[in-house]
């Protein structure tokens, strides 16, 4: 329980608020309370919000209002659905394997929840900031979810459920390859697997975000996005739960709260996958101008004096992180209600013959790029843990001193491309939202065929 050492930049929230290191019992209590009072309700609330949001987005894209009866804009719809699912009769098929049938929803949900514990919401709001293999840990734990789905399909003792489970296992396992390779491209550009360090690396402004480091990482972001859609069983790769083909896929026999667990797992996994993309590629908790990085490095040298500032900074960072992750979740939902569903062999073709070679090429290209183009030396994590502490965004001398002018030009150009793409998408969505409300629904043929006389 000592006073904080100012050289220790990895402080937890407790240390900032209370001004001292916690004791052993306090640490245990803090961990348990964080999981019970923050993470678990947070995940459940997030899933309920995502379910409502998906139905609203689906409705708007199909020119209908979506849920709008329960609550102001239908916000309490998820609550009503949750209550309905809780009160439903607990059905279990007589020929189903009883223990495995009951176990499968938890085996599906628990790994996704474990992945939540590694996410870097803010510099000091991470559950375990010293997890040195953070990115890889999340990837590993999302792979355990496959077992839950297979168990669900097998334990139902139902032909359609088994088909869905086997398709899903095939798909998820195959897509882990381009998933991993595109993550490796990003990690190569960053140089670390630790999620908190990744956030610090991207604190110098939008041109320091890892997605803009070199064009290969830019493309591997999209490869990762597509692969993560498939590994999440999200459309257009939602064959495992294809509602029109397999009754309901692997969760055909599930009803009530068990069914709800699968959906919690799915929406939580969507958020986790969006968070990986945010943390690794899109800047984590940093805003595009680098203010959070700048003020954090200013204030962290004296945490006791700037306590409220640091707390507000952390909360703002967490809000930015969640906002970016939810933006990616929105794009996932957008794609679900836009694209048709390919066959299973087309899905596997995309994985093995399109994404996997693309990921390999990007890997080799990124490696060669990093060998040839020097990056800014001050951003190395080996010298100092806060890379941008002496960074002046208005001086180019920092960059040219290390021969990193090419890097600066490329990063700025890519940042321009990225900002214009994102801006165009945002404008498009806003335009559709605005005009969709006023367009009248077509209830009859525009040019009716004239009746024969």
């Amino acid at each position: 329980m000592s006073m904080l050492s100012t050289a220790d930049w990895r402080l937890t929230f407790f240390e900032i608020v209370a001004g001292r290191s916690p004791g052993a019992g306090e640490q245990l209590l803090q961990s348990v309370l964080a999981i019970a009072l923050v993470f678990l309700p947070g995940v459940l609330l997030l899933a309920m919000f995502a379910i409502w949001w998906e139905r609203k987005v689906a409705g708007r894209m199909q020119s209908r209002p979506g849920p709008n009866r329960v609550g102001p804009i239908g916000v309490l719809q998820s609550l009503a659905d949750g209550m309905k699912l809780l009160l439903k009769e607990d059905l279990k098929p007589a020929v189903a394997d009883s223990i495995l049938f009951r176990l499968a929803p938890y085996v599906s949900f628990a790994p996704v929840f474990a992945a939540f514990l590694a996410l870097p919401f803010a510099p000091n709001l991470t559950f375990e900031p010293r997890l040195n293999s953070g990115v890889f840990w999340i990837l590993a734990v999302l792979g355990v979810e496959i077992m839950g789905v297979i168990l669900a399909g097998w334990a139902s003792n139902n032909k359609w459920a088994i088909y869905g489970a086997m398709r899903e296992a095939c798909q998820m396992v195959s897509y882990e390859i381009p998933l991993g390779l595109s993550i490796v491209v990003g990690v190569m550009a960053a140089g670390t697997l630790n999620l908190v360090e990744l956030g610090f690396l991207q604190g110098g402004g939008i041109h320091t975000w890892i997605i803009f480091r070199n064009p290969f990482v830019f493309l591997s972001f999209f490869v990762y996005f597509i692969a993560s859609l498939a590994s999440n069983k999200r459309a257009p790769f939602d064959l495992p739960e294809s509602e029109s083909e397999l009754v309901a896929g692997f969760h055909t026999e599930y009803s009530g709260m068990r069914f709800a667990f699968f959906f919690f797992a799915e929406y939580a996994a969507m958020f986790v996958v969006g968070s990986i993309q945010t943390a690794l590629f899109l800047g984590g908790w940093n805003d595009p101008f680098g203010f959070i990085g700048h003020y954090y490095t200013l204030w962290i040298s004296d945490p006791v004096a700037h306590r409220t500032g640091l707390i507000l900074l952390n909360l703002a960072g967490a809000a930015i992180f969640c906002g970016k992750a939810l933006a990616i979740v929105f794009v996932q939902m957008w794609l679900r209600w836009t694209l048709p569903r390919p066959r299973i062999d087309q899905v596997l073709y995309t994985c093995v013959k399109v994404l996997f070679p693309a990921a390999c090429v990007l890997l080799v290209g990124a490696a060669i790029w990093q060998m040839l183009v020097p990056s800014w030396q001050g951003a190395s994590l080996i010298e100092n843990p806060l890379p941008w502490v002496h960074y002046n965004p208005l001086s180019w001398a920092d960059w040219s001193r290390g021969g990193a002018t090419t890097a600066l030009i490329v990063q700025s150009l890519l940042a321009l491309v990225g900002v214009s793409l994102a801006g165009a998408m945002a404008l498009w969505v806003a335009y559709a939202f605005v005009t969709g409300r006023t367009r009248r629904q077509r209830l009859s043929e525009p040019h009716p065929i004239p009746e024969p006389a």
């Binding site: 052993a24 245990l28 961990s31 176990l103 010293r130 840990w137 590993a140 496959i146 296992a169």
Partner: protein
């Protein structure tokens, strides 16, 4: 929790017994379970328990590798094998009683011998204080530096295994000369995904 706490309080002891209990009980479950899918689920819990033990031994990268490769790869493969080779989902084979007795006696003897050997040996067992987790960068440098030859050999082995397993387990056409002539060769039982024209 800070890693400094891991060597100085009761928490690592509780965590060790928790993960060791999961791993040990599930290993026992693998032996005792009759249904093959339940055996696979017990194996899943064993592997997860062992991954937790790797965490306690400061090897987080290895724990993640265990989860990715063993649980997300090998176990899925095993479950696919179970699904492809089980004629009825609840068929189970009982071992003969003589075999079980011999196995139990042998197992008890071997366990007693191992435990006696462990207890009587004096391994150098220093518990360094507050050791930080092993840096992942050092693992990478070692794999591509000191252990480069085994690394490349392992990739060659994986390539050979991939080709071999894919060839051995290929779906056979009706006029395949190399197909096994057993009563239940898969050309008759399985429905191919793309039916031949």
């Amino acid at each position: 929790m800070h890693l400094a706490i891991l060597t100085t309080s009761l928490v690592p002891v509780i965590l060790f017994y928790l993960f060791a209990g999961i791993a040990g009980a599930s290993a026992l479950g693998v032996v005792l379970a009759r249904d093959i899918v339940r055996t696979a689920v017990f194996l899943l819990f064993t592997l997860v328990g062992v991954a937790g033990l790797y965490f306690l031994l400061n090897s987080e990268f290895l724990a993640a590798v265990q989860l990715v490769v063993y649980v997300g790869g090998t176990l899925i493969l095993v479950i696919f094998g179970i699904m492809l080779t089980s004629r009825a989902p609840t068929s189970r084979f009982e071992p003969r009683r003589g075999e079980v007795i011999v196995a139990i006696i042998a197992g008890v003897f071997i366990l007693a011998a191992l435990v006696t050997a462990i207890r009587s040996a004096h391994f150098r067992s220093d518990i360094p204080e507050a050791q930080k987790a092993y840096p992942v960068a050092a693992l990478g440098e070692a794999l591509l530096g000191e252990y480069l030859v085994p690394f490349e050999l392992a990739s060659v082995v994986l390539l050979v295994v991939m080709i071999g397993a894919a060839y051995l387990a290929r779906a056979r056409r009706r006029d395949d000369q190399h197909a096994p002539r057993g009563a239940a060769s898969r050309t008759q039982l399985s429905t191919p995904l793309n039916p031949e024209p």
